[in-house]
C-alpha cells in the first residue's frame, strides 16, 4: 500500500491548496504557527531529504527489521517536526506546486525507478527519531507527514475563513 498511500495523501494535499490565493497561503494563523506555504515547503523539503537518504542507504547492505505501526511513525514525525524551523520568505502557489511536483517526480519517482518496494522492506537504516527503520517504513513517513500537516492545513483554512 506504500505507493497508493503516497498518491492518496499527495493528491489530498494538492487539492487542499486549490482555491487559495498566494496571500492566504502565506498568512500566519492566529496561533502564530507556520503558514500553509511554509508547511507545504517543509513537506517537499522533507520528501526530498527522505528520498536522498533512502537512495543512499540502498547502496550498502543492511539488515531487515520489523515493520513499524504507522501510528508510531506519526508520533516520531510529530516529535521531529517540532525541531524544524519553517522556511523564511513567502512562496507563490505556482512555486509551491512546482516544488511539490519536483520532489515527488524527480526525487521519489527516481527512487522507485531504481528499486522494488519489496527490496525497500528488506533494507534498513538508523534514523534519529525512529531508531533502526526499514527503508519502506521511512518512505511511509512521507505520506504520514502529508496527512499530518494536511490536518494542520485544514485547520488553518478554517481559521482563515473565520477571520475573513
Amino acid at each position: 500500500m506504500l505507493i497508493e498511500n503516497l498518491g492518496r495523501a499527495r493528491k489530498a494535499l494538492l487539492d487542499s491548496l486549490d482555491g487559495l490565493t498566494d496571500e492566504q497561503l502565506n498568512a500566519r494563523p492566529p496561533d502564530g504557527g507556520p503558514s500553509i506555504a511554509q508547511l507545504a515547503h517543509h513537506l517537499q523539503a522533507s520528501e526530498r531529504a527522505t528520498a536522498a537518504l533512502v537512495l543512499d542507504a540502498l547502496q550498502s547492505r543492511s539488515e531487515r527489521v520489523e515493520e513499524q505501526d504507522p501510528s508510531l511513525l506519526a508520533a516520531g514525525l510529530q516529535q521531529s517536526c517540532g525541531h524544524d524551523q519553517p522556511a523564511s520568505g513567502t512562496f507563490s502557489k505556482a512555486e509551491l506546486i512546482r516544488l511539490l511536483e519536483e520532489s515527488r517526480f524527480r526525487d521519489l519517482q527516481a527512487l522507485f525507478n531504481e528499486t522494488h518496494e519489496r527490496v525497500l522492506a528488506e533494507r534498513s537504516l538508523e534514523h534519529p527519531p525512529f531508531g533502526r527503520i526499514s527503508l519502506k517504513n521511512l518512505l511511509d513517513t512521507i505520506w504520514i507527514h502529508d496527512d499530518l500537516h494536511g490536518k494542520q492545513i485544514a485547520a488553518i483554512k478554517q481559521s482563515l475563513r473565520t477571520t475573513a
Binding site: I3, L6, G7, R10, F105, R106, Q109, H116
Partner: protein
C-alpha cells in the same frame, strides 16, 4: 504495488452528431457526465483528451483507471447504451494493468499523486521476440540506458507505463504527460537513440490530446 486496471478509450463522432439538435447534443453530454459521476467511487478518470489536430482517427480519448476491470467495462457499456452512444464509434480501446516492472517498481505518475498535464501522448508497443530471450543483465542494461535518457526530461515529462500482455494486441501501454509539446518532441526524438529501440517491433497508433475536464472536453465537439 496494488494492481489497477487502466483503459484508454478512443471515440470518434459520426456525421450524425453534427446533424443532431443542439439541445440533444447537450443532453447526451450531460448523460455521459452523469455516468462518470455514478462510477466516481470505482473508476477514476485521469483525463478527457481532445485529439483534434493530432490524429484524424480519434476525436476524444478517455483515460480511466480502476481496481476492478468490470467497473471500467460496465461504465463503457453504459456510455455505449447512452444517447451519445448513437453518435460515436470507438476506433481504439486499450486495457492495461499496473504492476511492478522487471527491474524496478516504476509506478505510474497518477498512482504517486502527480496531477495530469495539459497534453497526453499515448502509444502501445510490442517488443521483438529476441528481446525477451536476451540475458537478464542485457535487458537490464538496455532498460537502464533507456531510463537514463528519459530521466533528462523529468519532471517535464511524466511517464505512465502499464502491462498489456494478454489483454490486447500489445505488450506495453505507455502514456507520457507534459505541459510542453516541444519537450515531448525532444524526449521522443532522444529516445530514438536508445539501444532498446533495436528491439521495438511495433508502436502504433500514437494518440496525442489536450487535457480537458470531462464536460468541457465533450463540449468542444458540441
Amino acid at each position: 504495488m496494488q494492481t489497477q486496471f487502466t483503459a484508454q478509450l478512443a471515440i470518434k463522432f459520426t456525421a450524425k452528431w453534427q446533424k443532431a439538435d443542439k439541445d440533444d447534443r447537450a443532453d447526451a453530454i450531460r448523460e455521459v457526465v452523469e455516468i462518470f459521476d455514478k462510477y466516481a467511487d470505482r473508476v477514476g478518470l485521469r483525463g478527457t483528451y481532445v485529439v483534434q489536430g493530432f490524429q484524424a482517427h480519434t476525436d476524444i480519448l478517455f483515460w480511466m483507471f480502476a481496481d476492478h476491470f468490470n467497473d471500467i467495462q460496465d461504465l463503457q457499456l453504459e456510455i455505449r447504451r447512452s444517447s451519445l452512444g448513437r453518435y460515436i464509434t470507438t476506433p481504439h480501446a486499450f486495457t492495461g494493468i499496473t504492476k511492478p516492472f522487471e527491474f524496478s517498481e516504476h509506478p505510474t505518475s497518477f498512482a504517486i499523486g502527480m496531477r495530469p498535464r495539459e497534453y497526453l501522448c499515448f502509444y502501445p508497443f510490442i517488443r521483438k521476440p529476441e528481446y525477451y530471450l536476451l540475458p537478464k543483465w542485457e535487458r537490464k542494461a538496455l532498460i537502464g540506458d533507456h531510463g537514463d535518457i528519459g530521466h533528462e526530461f523529468t519532471p517535464d515529462i511524466l511517464t505512465n507505463g502499464v502491462y498489456g500482455f494478454g489483454l490486447g494486441d500489445y505488450e506495453w501501454l505507455l502514456t507520457f504527460e507534459t505541459n510542453d509539446l516541444s519537450r515531448l518532441v525532444d524526449c521522443v526524438r532522444k529516445l530514438r537513440e536508445s539501444k532498446s529501440r533495436l528491439y521495438m517491433q511495433d508502436e502504433h497508433p500514437f494518440i496525442v490530446g489536450r487535457y480537458f475536464p470531462l464536460e468541457d472536453g465533450l463540449a468542444q465537439y458540441a
